[in-house]
């Protein structure tokens, strides 16, 4: 049976996405490529999808080393590892306690960032394209907002400032993007760190 182009935009999205992933059968691929040679709009769509993949690859996970004791072949050390973790956690707790006691962090950093928009299932975005985009946009801005709050909690002021500029530039029309409280929080943390540094020399 010869290949038939999809009849809907959603159908096209699925076919082209599967195509860039190499998930079409040999016959489907041959049929689609024959069609693409005659349709520049769809060619551009394929190019865009490949660019999305390329941009996504710029976000890398931190590198980690698998803990020796996690794997079954070193199970004899598992208990020791757990005690080691407990001891390390205890030591870290003391260190955090000492640090937290200094520039009274709780007074500045709220207990939690704004709750991201409640998108839990794709059925939530089974609505108009505009509304779906809007929801995801609000949620993306909230995620950036959360990053800034965390950077401030870590006293990484320069990074927080840069990310705040990014939030305001990219998402000025969102709830999180228009949150002036972040600027106040940034100023407060900067002031407290300055006082703390002056006090400790």
């Amino acid at each position: 049976m010869s290949w038939m182009p999809p009849q809907t935009e959603e159908g096209w999205n699925e076919v082209l996405s599967a195509y860039v992933d190499g998930e079409l059968s040999f016959e489907e691929t041959a049929g689609l490529e024959g069609y693409l040679a005659t349709d520049t709009v769809r060619q551009n769509q394929v190019r865009e999808l490949r660019k999305v993949s390329a941009v996504m690859s710029e976000w890398q996970a931190p590198d980690i080393r698998p803990p020796e004791a996690v794997l079954g072949k070193r199970r004899s050390t598992w208990r020791r590892f757990q005690w080691g973790q407990l001891a390390a956690g205890f030591a870290a707790g003391i260190a955090v306690g000492l640090f937290a006691a200094s520039p009274s962090r709780d007074a500045v950093i709220p207990a939690s960032p704004p709750v991201p928009a409640a998108i839990t299932s794709s059925s939530d975005v089974a609505m108009s394209r505009d509304r779906a985009d809007r929801l995801v946009r609000e949620s993306a801005a909230e995620a950036l907002h959360g990053q800034i709050v965390q950077l401030l909690a870590d006293r990484k002021i320069d990074q927080a400032e840069a990310r705040l500029a990014l939030l305001q530039r990219e998402y000025p029309d969102t709830r999180a993007g228009g949150d002036t409280g972040l600027i106040r929080m940034l100023d407060q943390v900067r002031e407290r760190v300055r006082l703390f540094e002056r006090r400790t020399g």
């Binding site: 999205n13 082209l16 941009v55 980690i64 072949k73």
Partner: protein, 175 residues
Amino acid sequence: MNMQHHDSPGGPFWDAIDAHYRAVFGFAWRMTGERTVAEDVTQEAFARLAQSALRDGGVEESRRWVFVVARNLCISHLRRRTRHPETELGHGLPARAAGPADAMAANERAALVQAAVHALPVDMREAIVLREYEGLSYEAIASIVDCPLGTVKSRIARARELLRHQLRNVLEMDE
């Protein structure tokens, strides 16, 4: 079938599983955005694998199984977090950073990608993360998230479409 037993240190089975540790951590980290949670999830998933007789099914089945456990732990965490929001959120690392200016630009782009991926509905997020970052086939993803192949295809396509809209400013920069 690979019948390497856990009491045979350094065997090919565990060497292969070692190689998946980072992949499972990367998946958990991108799903939750929290490094400590991702570390806990990964350790828990591999610890359960170590105690399970399932590893005798071979590397491929063990990889699938450990992803399923990690995915379930991530979803439980995300559900808890919706009820009790916490503070920690991960920071993306830029893949390329030649100089200070490049580093800042790359950091911004990584932050935008991170925010856009975290804004996706969970079912779309897991499908696109397993595909884009772990390079799994649609069939492998379907078996991990326990849904039909067509659903995976549709979720990945919709996730890409939403990301294309969200990241249009970044995409235009490259033109």
